[in-house]
């Protein structure tokens, strides 16, 4: 894609697939396709038909029924709607909620807000490998517990939670289960016909679709009631008001359909790149891998290195674009909670680099990254008083 950059920050946002751009372009300039899908005239109905077929494409990727999908502006909104919406809808039954401190901020901060409003939130820490123990969860669930939220793939480390086992446990205890699948949809298999998931958040820009469009899946079970968090119209089953952004929905639909077709090939591609990257840097003294290979989505490789300052490390790697921890935390400078929960010291956590890549990444990109990473570690170490 680029002449001067090596973009290895796919977990923050992926480049958009050119086939997706083409479909969006057609929609933007097409005859009436741009209209408001809520309008009853011909143009509106054309737009509505386009939205319906995009919803079907996404539903097919997830093996869900199209009418169970609500379009939102992204996973952040989906997380807020799912968690606040379900918590408030079930508040009369009980106000106890369960999540993990290693969740994305869109989940964790929503729970923090609910905690300030009188909900009780239990934060379950992961084990040393970043995984949630189902025994721990089973013990934490009480009669008043209404909702459990555990993400599918962690955005910093790629660690994959066993959402099937977690969902089964929740279902057996009559508790709703939400999962933030922003990092897994379109990359790993997410089959909602078989997964006991009640609410699932996703966002298109993590799988080569456009930014600004996501969805919330709501299972067709009477328990799954959700109250809206925004008001103003009958769109999206009265749960999410606002003019539907047709071209974004088209883009999300095409991205979903491509992901369905190409997921297996992409997965093999990123696994090979990940192995090449690891082979190229593993020998660096003091290097630690954050997240066991067997537990992780292979498109993410997170490593820490002793005695090196993180911000300088990143500058030294330019023009290779990687994240230090979560992209969302990048400007805060706080060491990552996710990494500390894996047992890393603050110093190690702050030196963490998240390499994440995808279908446009080449072996050359990886080789450049290896070379730059090694050089930058060396440069930082040559200046370091910590030897």
């Amino acid at each position: 894609m680029s002449q001067d950059l090596v973009y290895l920050d796919y977990a923050a946002t992926t480049p958009i697939d050119l086939r997706v751009v083409e479909a969006m372009q057609e929609c933007l300039t097409g005859d009436g396709a741009f209209a408001n899908p809520a309008s009853i005239h011909i143009a509106g109905r054309r737009a509505a038909a386009i939205v319906d077929s995009a919803r079907e494409q996404l539903a097919e990727l997830l093996d869900a029924r199209p009418e169970r999908l609500i379009w939102t502006s992204g996973a952040t909104e989906s997380d807020n709607l799912a968690i606040r919406g379900a918590a408030t809808a079930r508040a009369h039954r009980g106000k106890h909620l369960i999540t993990m401190p290693t969740e994305h901020k869109a989940v964790a901060d929503t729970f923090r807000a609910l905690a300030r409003e009188g909900f009780e939130v239990t934060w379950l820490s992961p084990d040393d490998n970043g995984l949630l123990s189902t025994e721990l969860l089973a013990d934490a669930i009480r009669d008043e517990t209404q909702l459990v939220s555990v993400m599918h793939v962690n955005n910093e480390t790629g660690v994959i939670q066993d959402i099937c086992a977690i969902g089964e446990l929740c279902r057996s205890r009559g508790v709703l289960f939400h999962t933030d699948a922003a990092q897994s949809v379109g990359k790993l298999e997410v089959d909602l016909r078989n997964l006991p998931v009640d609410l699932l958040s996703l966002t298109a820009h993590k799988f080569y679709g456009p930014q600004g469009i996501g969805a919330l899946y709501i299972a067709d079970r009477p328990q799954c009631s959700v109250l809206p968090i925004m008001f103003g119209g009958a769109q999206e089953k009265r749960l999410r008001p606002g003019t539907l952004p047709v071209h974004l929905i088209v883009g999300a639909g095409v991205a979903a359909s491509l992901a369905g077709d190409e997921r297996e090939v992409d997965l093999a591609h990123v696994a090979a790149l990940r192995d090449r990257l690891w082979a190229g840097i593993a020998a660096i003294p003091g290097l630690t891998r954050n997240g066991r290979e067997a537990d992780c989505y292979p498109g993410i490789l997170n490593v820490s290195v002793a005695g090196v300052e993180g911000e300088s490390l990143l500058l030294g790697m330019e023009p290779v674009c990687v994240a230090s921890g979560s992209a969302c935390n990048s400007t805060s400078g706080e060491p990552s909670y996710v990494l500390r929960s894996l047992g890393r010291s603050d110093a190690d956590a702050q030196s963490a680099v998240r390499f994440s890549f995808g279908k446009l990444t080449t072996e050359d990109d990886i080789d450049t990254a290896i070379e730059r990473y090694r050089r930058s570690v060396e440069h930082c170490r040559s200046m370091s008083p910590v030897t």
């Binding site: 899908p37 809520a38 309008s39 009853i40 509106g44 109905r45 509505a48 038909a49 939205v51 319906d52 769109q235 999206e236 539907l244």
Partner: protein, 128 residues
């Protein structure tokens, strides 16, 4: 969200060519009028029937109504004209709704069809 296509082909054709909309053209031994309306959407349907020897020699409608009800009225007129007044009540709103793919939300309005036919019938003296 709007259904992708609110009117099926038949509704469109009937709405565009409501041959039976308007007033009776002929003069008949007996003329019946059924005027029914529904307050919620302000819909109103009037059937005019020219009766000759127990037969509906001519039937016309006027409607202040959505395209589905207009189409349904046209269907009723086409099917009724030339037939016996006594056979009219077999026309059921739910059958028409299926045939014309009328959204369920319009059920109340579509019952005007049954009401109007029933009224014609009652006036003819052959009800019951």
């Amino acid at each position: 969200m709007a259904a992708s296509e609110p009117y099926n082909e038949e509704v469109r054709a009937l709405f565009e060519n409501p041959f039976h909309a308007g007033d009776l053209q002929g003069v008949y031994p007996e003329t019946l009028t059924a005027d029914v309306s529904e307050s919620e959407h302000g819909a109103r349907l009037v059937l005019y029937a020219g009766i000759d020897d127990g037969k509906i020699a001519e039937i016309r409608f006027r409607a202040f109504a959505c395209p589905h009800l207009v189409a349904a009225a046209e269907v009723v007129c086409r099917e009724a004209e030339g037939g016996k007044l006594s056979e009219l009540p077999t026309i059921k709103a739910n059958e028409l709704m299926e045939r014309l793919s009328v959204p369920v939300g319009k059920t109340g309005r579509m019952l005007l069809i049954e009401d109007a036919v029933e009224k014609l019938h009652a006036q003819s003296g052959c009800a019951g």
